[in-house]
């Protein structure tokens, strides 16, 4: 009976891995404990040890193959007294799509990034911990055809392991050429049922395509070999923690919206970032004057209290008027060039939450009007009383974490905006003026730009204009 070597799970959450390297060739004798292959996960490369003795009869999954699902058949070992050639022939039939045995050894490690491949420097303890699991997976012997007999089609085919699916789902998947290992089951205990297969057929997903697909994504992610990575399942994440060691808090709609919109923004918007330092001593002085001139009401409260952030809002709005090509929204068909600067302002909510009310036509509003509007928004946002028309739309946004002492950061663009300005803390820094050291209050601001609508030079013009207004704040008043 040939022994199936299956893709081991190197951690409880591992769902697939890359077969980085075969350390044994077909025909090599194997002893229990021999390292036969290297498997690469997103974190490390680990060794696969043989559990049984025999001859490596057939390599089913060639090295360099990415995203091999856990428990997929990767090789066959001919046991004592078995003819490796017969085992290989039998195995070939049960593993369609695998390279023919003669070719397999020729495959080189081209696809395996050297850095990861060397990372056999995986912590010893972790490798040791993984070993028992790989035992259980690898010692799973399937009812493969007897040596020499013509291979009968096995319902387990490429997976090698039992797939938890209904008979009808299995049959429909087989006829449609779908790999059940790539379909998420929605039935009891994750069983794959007819509707899952039908959904996969409609979605065009799960086609049996074992080879790594060339990814169209830019070089942003060096390890971007996985086609459209899907997040780990909730169950897989929960497995990382002791049951009872955490409290499960269901998402409210705001959390879901934040997750959906910002994930979408990060995945679909090509963003780049521009940072400048602004000296704000003049701005602080003007703010003092403006606030000092506020008439006091009956209760002694001043009629307005303008914050630095209110002035940044105004500066951004004025800058957009000066650089109108950057006051745009990308759509597939056209560029929407806005006539006014509607500036969204990220407001943090108690606990954890975020909403972005919008100061409409901020370029036309006085600092005191902006300050009043923001005060009202902030109060109502915290009570979650904002109306949709007060936080939907907008042409840009400001996110300010300066009050937390954050020096600088980058913010995620909130579509349909093309830009967002991340504002850091104003702090006294040493600056050099005409070759002399001086002390100034400096605030770093970072503009995230949607490259589809705002190119680098345009973004630079915009942030320069913002800087100019901030450093010459009187110009905002005229």
């Amino acid at each position: 009976m040939p022994i199936n070597i299956l893709m081991p799970a190197l951690s409880p959450t591992m769902e697939k891995g890359n077969l980085a390297k075969w350390l044994k060739k077909e025909g090599d004798a194997i002893k229990a404990g021999d390292v036969i292959a290297e498997i690469e996960t997103d974190k490390a490369t680990m060794e696969v040890e043989a559990v049984d003795e025999g001859v490596l009869a057939k390599i089913v999954v060639p090295e360099g193959t990415a995203d091999v699902p856990v428990n997929e058949l990767i090789a066959l070992i001919a046991g004592d007294g078995e003819d490796p050639k017969a085992v290989a022939a039998g195995g070939a039939a049960s593993a369609p799509g695998a390279k023919s045995p003669q070719n397999a050894p020729d495959v080189v490690t081209a696809a395996a990034p050297p850095a990861a491949a060397q990372a056999a420097a995986a912590p010893q303890s972790e490798a040791a911990a993984a070993a028992p699991e790989s035992h259980s997976a690898a010692s799973f012997t399937a009812a493969a055809p007897a040596a020499g007999a013509p291979a009968a089609p096995s319902p387990q085919t490429a997976e090698g392991a039992r797939v938890f699916a209904s008979p009808l789902a299995k049959r429909i998947a087989k006829e449609a050429g779908l790999d059940l290992g790539r379909i998420q089951g929605s039935g009891p205990h994750g069983r794959i049922v007819e509707r899952d297969v039908r959904a996969a057929m409609e979605g065009g997903a799960a086609k049996a395509a074992p080879a790594a697909q060339p990814t169209a994504a830019p070089a942003a992610a060096p390890a971007a070999r996985a086609p459209a990575p899907t997040p780990a399942s909730d169950e897989a994440v929960k497995k990382l923690f002791e049951p009872g060691s955490y409290e499960e808090i269901p998402h409210d709609n705001m959390r879901k919206t934040i997750a959906r919109r910002l994930t979408e923004a990060r995945q679909t918007v090509p963003q780049f970032y521009l940072t400048v330092d602004c000296e704000i001593d003049a701005l602080l002085k003007l703010r003092e004057q403006v606030n000092g001139s506020a008439p006091k009401g009956k209760d002694g409260a001043p009629a307005w209290k303008v914050s630095v952030n209110d002035m940044v809002i105004k500066a951004l709005a004025m800058a957009l008027m000066r650089v109108p090509d950057a006051n745009v929204t990308w759509t597939e068909g056209a560029m929407l060039k806005h006539k006014h600067a509607d500036v969204g302002v990220a407001v943090a909510l108690p606990g954890n939450g975020l909403i972005t009310p919008i100061i409409r036509k901020a370029e036309e509003k006085t600092l005191s009007a902006i300050a009043k509007a923001m005060k009202d928004f902030a109060v109502r946002a915290k009570d979650r009383k904002l109306k949709p028309e007060e936080y939907q739309g907008g042409t840009t946004a400001v996110s300010n974490l300066g009050m937390f002492g954050i020096k600088d950061f980058t913010a995620v663009i909130n579509p349909p905006h093309s830009t967002i300005l991340a504002v850091g803390a104003g702090e006294q820094r040493a600056v050099v003026r005409k070759g002399e050291l001086a002390v100034a209050t400096v605030m770093s601001i970072t503009m995230s730009c949607d490259h589809r609508s705002v190119d680098g030079a345009l973004g630079a013009q915009l942030i320069s204009a913002v800087k100019e207004f901030i450093e010459n704040p009187m110009s905002m008043l005229v």
């Binding site: 008979p167 049959r171 429909i172």
Partner: protein
């Protein structure tokens, strides 16, 4: 301060009380509002007491043919209508008390009276409009009464009542609904039954066996209209052989009441009319939902053709208001209501639920011969574009059926030729109501013909016919 619950269920029928028990299991503080009888129509006036009546009829039928089994009887077999009815009522009473016990055991409060939803989260209960009658007399001990009660979740499970045709309004004396047909003072010597659905045909079968001249009038060309045509035709043949008169494609246009008789004018498809006089007439032309006087209109709960619209998980368009069972639409069956209720409360709990696949709900009719089915009929399957493989196996080829003296019947299976999916199963004959769930399990597990063929069926049983029918669909039948 109104007493506050997590869940209030309006209606203590099979949908309501099962939902309540499941709710209690899930840790909800639960109450059921009931105005007439725990266990609902099903247990008190429907499914259960008719089975008791039909059991009497079945035994009486065997007593009339003792020689078929080599037996003799001293004298003529006979029956006592009052005793037959009493047995049926006692069966209901026993189960009715059982429901009360189950609710108590699960710490579900029972509130006795008529419920009105004043607003989401609040139910006002007033005194019941109808007096308590056997089997729910006296009203169970320890129930709460009139008052205002609060609950985060309100589940409407108020069931349905007989549909009334204009001009054929039941009077409780000559024109009956299932209520009167269930507990007659005497068995009529002649009877007209309007409607050949499950309720009509069960009473027709019962009274025919008890010796009445029975005429069934069905407006559609086929009796048992929801069943597979082939099965319905076989059943009809058996009914007619027993002496039942069946007028299909015919409608009752007029009913005149005499002193102790009813004369119906019946019009056939071609427009020809005839009159027929019988002692009693049963109107069994379907049911309508009990959606009135609950406050649903005021809350803006969405309705469609008399039933409450839900999302399949029991939720209506109004948050906090749910509907299950008959009021949530067809099929109006107790087991559908129970299952729907469980899905609803588990959804409220936040468990992972799926809407029920209504095609996988079996239906059973306990006439003689029995009829049972699940899934698509052959005609429906073809209509939906399936290429079908149909298997048939007759009772006469089954050893157990012959030994029982029940050689009439058929097991029919319908498969999708392309995938081997079991699309439907339809049976007529002895005990088929107890067999159908085998196919129901198979369908829910999404088996194909292969697993059914590989399964071992015990010998000698009627269930072997289920195996043979599958074999027949794939050209492998043994015993024909």
């Amino acid at each position: 301060m109104a007493e506050t619950y997590d869940v209030i269920i309006i209606g203590g029928g099979p949908g309501g009380y099962v939902t309540a028990i499941r709710a209690a299991q899930l840790g909800f503080k639960t109450a059921v509002v009931e105005r007439e009888h725990l266990g609902g129509i099903c247990l008190n006036w429907g499914c259960i007491p008719t089975k008791a009546l039909l059991r009497s009829a079945e035994i009486y039928h065997y007593m009339q043919h003792p020689q078929a089994y080599g037996l003799t009887l001293q004298g003529q077999p006979g029956f006592d209508p009052a005793a037959v009815v009493k047995r049926s009522r006692n069966v209901s009473a026993q189960l009715n008390q059982g429901v009360g016990f189950l609710l108590k055991k699960n710490k579900v409060d029972v509130i006795w009276g008529e419920a009105f939803i004043t607003k989401p989260g609040e139910v006002k209960v007033s005194a019941p409009k109808k007096p308590a009658v056997q089997p729910q007399n006296p009203v169970p001990k320890g129930v709460k009464g009139e008052g205002t009660y609060a609950a985060k979740h309100i589940i409407v499970a108020t069931g349905a009542r007989p549909r009334v045709l204009p001009g054929i309004e039941p009077d409780g004396k000559l024109i009956w609904t299932y209520f009167e047909a269930m507990k007659p003072d005497a068995f009529p010597k002649s009877l007209i039954v309007i409607g050949s659905g499950a309720i009509g045909i069960e009473f027709a079968s019962f009274y025919r066996t008890m010796g009445a001249e029975v005429t069934v009038v069905e407006v559609l060309p086929q009796i048992l209209p929801v069943e597979d045509a082939e099965i319905a035709a076989l059943a009809r043949k058996r009914f007619e052989k027993q002496g039942m008169k069946i007028l299909s494609g015919a409608k009752v246009t007029k009913v005149e009441k005499g002193a102790n008789s009813v004369t119906a004018t019946i019009q056939d498809e071609k427009g020809a009319t005839q009159t027929l006089t019988a002692e009693r007439l049963i109107s069994a032309v379907g049911v309508v939902c009990n959606t009135e006087n609950l406050g649903l209109e005021g809350l803006g709960v969405k309705m469609d053709r008399g039933s409450i619209v839900t999302d399949g998980l029991g939720r209506t368009n109004v948050p906090g208001i749910y509907a299950i069972g008959d009021v949530a639409g067809p099929p109006m069956l107790a087991h559908k209501a129970e299952h729907e209720g469980v899905i609803c409360i588990e959804t409220i709990k936040g468990l992972h639920t799926h809407a029920m696949d209504k095609l996988k709900i079996p239906g059973c009719t306990y006439c003689n011969p029995q009829v049972a089915s699940v899934g698509l009929t052959e005609a429906k399957a073809k209509e939906q574009g399936y290429q079908v493989k149909v298997g048939r196996f007759p009772f006469v080829g089954n050893g157990k059926a012959i030994a029982l003296g029940e050689p009439d019947g058929l097991v029919k299976t319908i498969f999708d030729a392309k995938t081997g999916k079991l699309l439907g199963a339809h049976m007529v004959g002895a005990e088929v109501t107890e067999l159908i769930q085998g196919y129901v399990v198979a369908m829910n597990l999404e088996t194909t013909e292969e697993e059914l063929i590989h399964a071992v069926f015990p010998h000698p049983t009627l269930s072997e016919m289920m195996h043979e029918s599958v074999l027949d669909a794939y050209g492998r039948v043994i015993h024909v």
